[in-house]
């Protein structure tokens, strides 16, 4: 018997969900008006009578203070009368439904004979009927993971999935033509190139047999761009010059050449590891989850964060995650709804979804999300970028791992389902307007509590020495995790032992599923019983899947029958090298026509209201940025806790004053003009954000995340080569090592033959160390009467600037770092902050000096008067105010500390630029002309209005 329990807000309670839906519909420009009533509920199946369902409702499912409920048995489903249209939305069969799982467990605890539960949302909708399908598709449901039913519920039971009947599947490839092979690759979503598929064919020809489906999937996943980074590690012919392994020659190479003694494990494990103090190391990893987030923003971002949290957990013998970061690139959220190409979600919906996805995973894991950024650019319309990062803390000596023959292959955590099949190969191709329908299975659904439980177990097991190696199941699932762990040895896996969410999975689906919240451990046989008991005590499922063996082979079995048998050597080294062509043509320099105007107040207000610059408070406050009680410089700072801090600072070790500053740099607008210069500037931005709060510039480690378009196009790859070279040169000049990184290529969207690519996007994330956090400074102005000093040289670098953007101007020089002077400025500033000479400090980035001054004033609730003397008379006011030259800071200094401060900057560019006042106005003059004059309230309103959602 199937029951529908519908739960509504009690009379007098707000219908928050209904209101939100109606507001979302209006925001997306759907013809309205809409009135929406929203109910939550459950479908409950089992031999239950009405009193039992009543008991279930009243005991656990309904909050009687604020909710009412009604219930219907399956025979009453048709009889529901409503004057409005009724729309039910429920997860598709097989989609993870954590709340339903909890309900099932608890109802069984109560002794109720419940067989199955699914959550359901029910909407009563009034509005223009013609737009109902769009309301459903754009607001009420996400077709990738949910089904919507209009009218009475049409089913009489919940789908259970059908059971699987084993049959070993061979895929005939021997002797096939090129066209046939490519067809097999495309239909199977294997995404082999022809050369790769021919190599596979030759391998099996030598073996004298056809491959199984499972073997092809294993090879496709291991050789995918996502897992092997074959483009950047392959051979690139760049305008007549051959580059073997671009990453090795630029990013890794730079780190190696520095020979720093505080690096512990770089580019070797799931996250890069550096030494923190006598007792601990820290590690950091940033990943992207772009393609899934384009299709299902909530689920994509949710599992994006869930996935990167598992990287530190799977680094060395397991690190404890201590903070998260998130950076989003989306099209401007005010993009007109009718301008969207087919299959593309509105950027406002995407942004709301990804923020909610990060929020719900990070908050539930109990990891503070402390740093982030938002970039708005039209070219992210079909390819939003979602970067999530996690910092972990690991005791020294635990940053390395090993696998010994005979070790058990143990999977712990979530069960395996059909979620995320083909995620690895899906991330390695372009999106099309059909991606949503063909790749829906590539969307994974997260359950943060399962991962938290896994974390609790992993740290205890680590400290008890119960395993020798650990890695996470990310893209490629078991295939990737076991394939990598056993690469040097060999592995035998019994796929039938994997615990499943539901029946019906084939052996191949089990092997490549990207179901979330799973880790794989190499467990010495004598420790297995203790590990199993520990997992049991915490309610975590642990399964012995097989063992690592000294055979050099990956052998997969299903109920004893071999369904895959590959040489590890061929799997990991058999892929033919990718050879790509790259070319780069610099953008023709073009002067930027500077206007002749006196007043720049409106320009400043416009820049404060851009998506990149505006207040992110709406996002930041949805994240718990203080859980674990270690966040000592918050993301929002100032007299009202609403100013934009440069970097957050956390205390990794309770009781110690040694801190970590976390920051980032990103600027695709510069990337469009000069990717080499952009790379230097975003490294500079990440470093200067860290230094601005007090980090030691000689203890900053950075990560790269390259997100580019389709690098099979030579000019796209050429711009990436230039960016990587920029990374190398500036990292070396600064002595700032890269410790880990990731690339996401193919961020393009094709619709009706037209292609839309993202701008070259490089995110640099930085982790800087602070010997004593009590020396940290924040960016909010502190006291009237203090002096403001500008550090760093301002050049006419308005190309790609925010000022040029809001004015609609093109051309101009992009900012470039001065590799000689910049590190000296960083060290001088560090010394000044360490000596307590700086009351506040803010870095200059988008919008230049004018924006930095405005932000300092509105964060501190104090005014300021700034001016440029005669020595600046040759520069144009627009450059003085808005140039985005790197390595610049504004410092607030007490008058009696100025002389000592200046002595630290001997020979470096520094000058007085203004004073702090207690009049709430920002006034900037150039000689006799007033360039900007605005009350703080106007600045703050312009800055806060865009994301006041």
């Amino acid at each position: 018997m199937l029951w529908h329990l519908q739960i509504d807000p009690a009379p007098g309670q707000l219908d928050l969900a209904g209101r939100r839906i109606a507001a979302d519909a209006a925001e997306l420009g759907l013809p309205g008006p809409w009135t929406v009533g929203a109910s939550r509920g459950f479908l409950i199946e089992g031999p239950l009578d009405r009193p039992s369902v009543t008991r279930a409702a009243e005991a656990v499912l309904v909050d009687p203070v604020v909710e009412t409920y009604s219930m219907r048995g399956v025979d009453e489903f048709q009889a529901v009368a409503s004057s409005s249209t009724v729309v039910h939305v429920l997860p598709k069969p097989g989609v993870t439904d954590p709340e339903a799982e909890s309900a099932l467990a608890l109802l069984r605890d109560l002794g109720l004979a419940v067989e199955n539960v699914r959550t359901i949302r029910t909407y009563r909708v009034e509005g223009p009927e013609a737009s109902l399908p769009r309301l459903i598709g754009r607001v009420l449901a996400n077709d990738a993971v949910e089904q919507a039913v209009v009218g009475p519920l049409p089913f009489d039971r919940l789908g259970q999935g059908t059971s699987y009947r084993f049959a070993r599947v061979e895929v005939p490839i021997l002797g096939k033509s090129d066209a046939e092979l490519l067809d097999i690759s495309r239909k199977g979503q294997l995404h082999f190139s022809l050369a790769e598929f021919r190599a596979v064919e030759r391998y099996f020809e030598e073996l004298g047999r056809e491959p199984t489906d499972c073997e092809l999937e294993t090879l496709a996943q291991t050789w995918s761009e996502h897992c092997s980074h074959k483009t950047l590690r392959g051979r690139i012919e760049f305008d007549g010059r051959a580059i073997d392994n671009l990453l090795k020659q630029t990013i890794f190479g730079a780190t190696q050449r520095m020979g720093l003694d505080w690096l512990v494990s770089v580019f070797a494990d799931n996250a890069g590891v550096v030494r923190f103090d006598e007792d601990y190391d820290v590690c950091f990893k940033v990943e992207t989850h772009n393609h899934p987030s384009a299709i299902d923003p909530y689920g994509g971002a949710n599992t994006g964060l869930g996935g990167v949290i598992r990287d530190p957990m799977g680094t060395g013998l397991g690190a404890k995650p201590i903070c998260n970061t998130d950076v989003f690139c989306v099209a401007p959220p005010d993009t007109p709804a009718d301008s969207l190409p087919a299959g593309v979600l509105h950027p406002r919906r995407i942004l709301k979804g990804i923020v909610a996805g990060v929020r719900d995973y990070g908050n539930r894991m109990g990891i503070p999300t402390v740093n982030g950024a938002l970039v708005g650019h039209p070219a992210y319309l079909a390819n939003p970028l979602v970067f999530c990062g996690t910092v972990g803390l690991i005791p020294r000596g635990m940053s390395t791992k090993s696998v010994e023959p005979g070790d058990r292959i143990v999977a712990i955590g979530g069960r395996t389902g059909r979620d995320g099949i083909h995620g690895a190969t899906f991330s390695s191709v372009e999106l099309t307007s059909e991606s949503e329908s063909i790749s829906g299975g590539a969307v994974q659904i997260g359950n943060a509590i399962t991962e938290k439980m896994v974390l609790d177990v992993v740290l205890q097991a680590r400290d008890r020495g119960l395993f020798r190696s650990i890695t996470d199941c990310g893209a490629g699932g078991f295939s990737s995790a076991v394939g990598e762990m056993g690469a040097e040895l060999g592995a035998e896996v019994d796929l039938d032992r994997a615990p499943l969410k539901y029946e019906g999975l084939s052996y191949t689906e089990i092997w490549i599923s990207e179901a979330q919240e799973r880790m794989v451990l190499a467990v010495p046989p004598e420790k297995w019983a203790e590990l199993r008991a520990l997992c049991e005590s915490e309610g975590v499922e642990a399964t012995d899947l097989g063992r690592f063996v000294d055979t050099g082979r990956l052998t997969l079995k299903y109920h004893g029958e071999v369904v895959g048998d590959l040489s590890m050597h061929f799997l990991h080294d058999g892929r033919p090298a990718v050879i790509r062509k790259a070319t780069f043509t610099p953008v023709e320099p073009k002067p930027l026509e500077l206007p002749n105007q006196a007043d720049y107040t409106k320009d400043l207000l416009d820049i404060l209201g851009t998506w990149d610059v505006c207040s992110k408070e709406w996002i930041v406050r949805q994240y718990d940025h203080e859980v674990q009680a270690r966040t000592v410089v918050k993301p929002l700072v100032g007299v009202l806790d609403d100013g934009p801090g440069d970097a957050s600072v956390v205390l990794p070790v309770a009781g110690s004053m040694r801190g970590l500053a976390i920051s980032c740099g990103i600027n695709p607008r510069h990337g469009l003009i000069d990717p080499y210069a952009m790379a230097g500037c975003v490294i500079d931005e990440a470093v200067r954000n860290c230094v601005a709060v007090g980090a030691d510039p000689d203890r900053i480690a950075i990560l790269d995340n390259f997100c580019w378009g389709n690098t099979e196009r030579p000019e796209t790859l050429g711009s990436l080569v230039r960016a990587a070279e920029g990374c190398r040169d500036v990292a070396l000049a600064y002595g700032t090592p890269f410790i880990s990184g990731k690339d996401s290529l193919y961020n393009e969207y094709t619709h009706e033959g037209k292609s839309l690519a993202i701008p070259p996007t490089l995110l640099i994330s930085a982790m800087g160390q602070i010997p004593d956090v009590r020396k940290c400074v924040t960016m909010d102005l502190k006291e009237a009467g203090n002096l403001l000093l500008l550090v760093g040289e301002t050049r006419d670098e308005l190309g790609g600037s925010h000022w040029a953007m809001v004015r609609g101007l093109e051309g101009g020089d992009v900012p470039r770092v001065d590799p000689e002077t910049a590190p000296r400025i960083f060290r001088a500033l560090y010394s000044a902050i360490s000596r307590g000479l700086v009351r506040s400090c803010h870095d200059l980035s988008e919008g230049g000096l004018a924006v930095a001054l405005a932000e300092m004033a509105l964060a501190g609730g104090l005014g300021l008067e700034a001016g440029f003397g005669l020595d600046h008379s040759s520069s144009h006011p627009a450059s003085l105010l808005f140039s985005e030259s790197p390595t610049r800071f504004v410092l607030e200094v007490r008058p009696d500390a100025v002389a000592e401060l200046r002595s630290l900057f001997e020979g470096l560019p520094i000058g007085e630029v203004g004073t702090v006042t207690d009049t709430p106005r920002l006034v900037v003059r150039h000689s006799e002309t007033t360039l900007i004059d605005a009350p703080l309230s106007a600045l703050k309103e312009a800055w806060q209005a865009p994301l006041r959602w």
Binding site: Q13, L14, L16, A17, R19, R20, A59, V60, L61, D63, P64, V65, V66, P98, E99, S102, A103, L106, D109, A356, R359, N363, R364, G366, N447, A448, I449, K452, M453, D456, S537, E538, G539, R621, Q622, Y623, D624, H625, E626, V627, Q628, A629, R630, T631, V632, V633, L636, V637, G638, V639, D641, L651, A654, V773, C776, V777, T778, D780, K782, S840
Partner: protein, 257 residues
């Protein structure tokens, strides 16, 4: 006098257990963290503690409503040991999700004839972190000994305290059980957002039971035990102790340590 022993109870999804145990130690208690399985497996284990803490987090994912599942599990197994614990003068502190558990389990408000109470979704409709100013009302609860305003962060999506019966809030207030209220900058009880972050009628931020010994609050005292925790320490300096530490100290003192 031996140090009082504080039990920090951890369930799947609990995520503030470490800093809560740290706060107890800082305040002079001995703290142990136990997994719910260990407590349910040996309910008499509670007998060796003087303080029970339900820390913040998302116990069981807050599926079915915040704190609901843990409340249900505690209610079915721990009823008798918990009554014994309270009868011999034990203190119970529920923070954020722990407060939600205490309310859903009926331990708070804990007075007869009030009808049901709950903590439900914030008026804003979503999870929110921010610092709040709070006015304690001393008298009934050993956790709060003066009316000096304190500042603590809140971080929750379901913190709006609602009672089923219309006059129940007035009765709770007159019984002195509403011991912590949200306040604005000038120290007045706050009915409007953002000073009242969730829309709780009566600005209820924390409650105790009629004995005063069971205390639950939405704000996080364990996140303000050091002056560095304060969001404006770079403006006001580091010479003041964290406000949250007082709550833990008061409890330790009340137990005679």
């Amino acid at each position: 006098m031996p140090k009082p022993r504080a039990l920090v109870l951890r369930a799947p999804g609990t995520n503030c257990d470490e800093e809560t145990a740290f706060a107890w130690r800082l305040a002079g208690a001995e703290a142990e963290t136990w997994h719910i399985g260990r407590v349910l497996g040996s309910p008499d284990g509670l007998d060796s503690f003087q303080i029970l803490t339900l820390p913040g987090g998302f116990s069981y994912g807050d599926d079915l409503g915040s704190g609901k599942i843990l409340a249900s599990r505690l209610g079915t197994v721990l009823g008798d040991p918990l009554r014994r614990f309270l009868d011999r003068g034990g203190l119970v502190l529920g923070i954020c999700n722990g407060f939600q558990v205490l309310v859903k389990a009926g331990l708070l408000p804990g007075a007869a004839g009030l009808g049901h109470a709950t903590l439900t979704f914030n008026d804003s409709g979503h999870f929110e972190s921010r610092w709040s100013r709070l006015i304690p009302t001393p008298g009934l609860s050993p956790f709060l000994l003066d009316d000096e305003p304190i500042e603590l962060p809140v971080a929750h999506g379901e913190g709006k305290f609602v009672l089923a019966e219309d006059d129940a809030l007035a009765r709770l207030e007159s019984a002195g059980q509403v011991v912590l209220r949200y306040a604005d900058e000038s120290g007045r009880v706050a009915s409007t957002y953002p000073a009242n972050p969730n829309g709780s009628p009566g600005a209820v931020a924390g409650l105790c039971d009629p004995t005063g010994r069971v205390f639950g609050l939405m704000p996080h005292p364990e996140r303000h035990v050091d002056p560095l925790h304060h969001p404006r320490w770079t403006r006001r300096g580091l010479d003041r102790e964290g406000d949250g530490l007082r709550i833990f100290r008061n409890a330790v003192r009340a137990l005679g340590a």
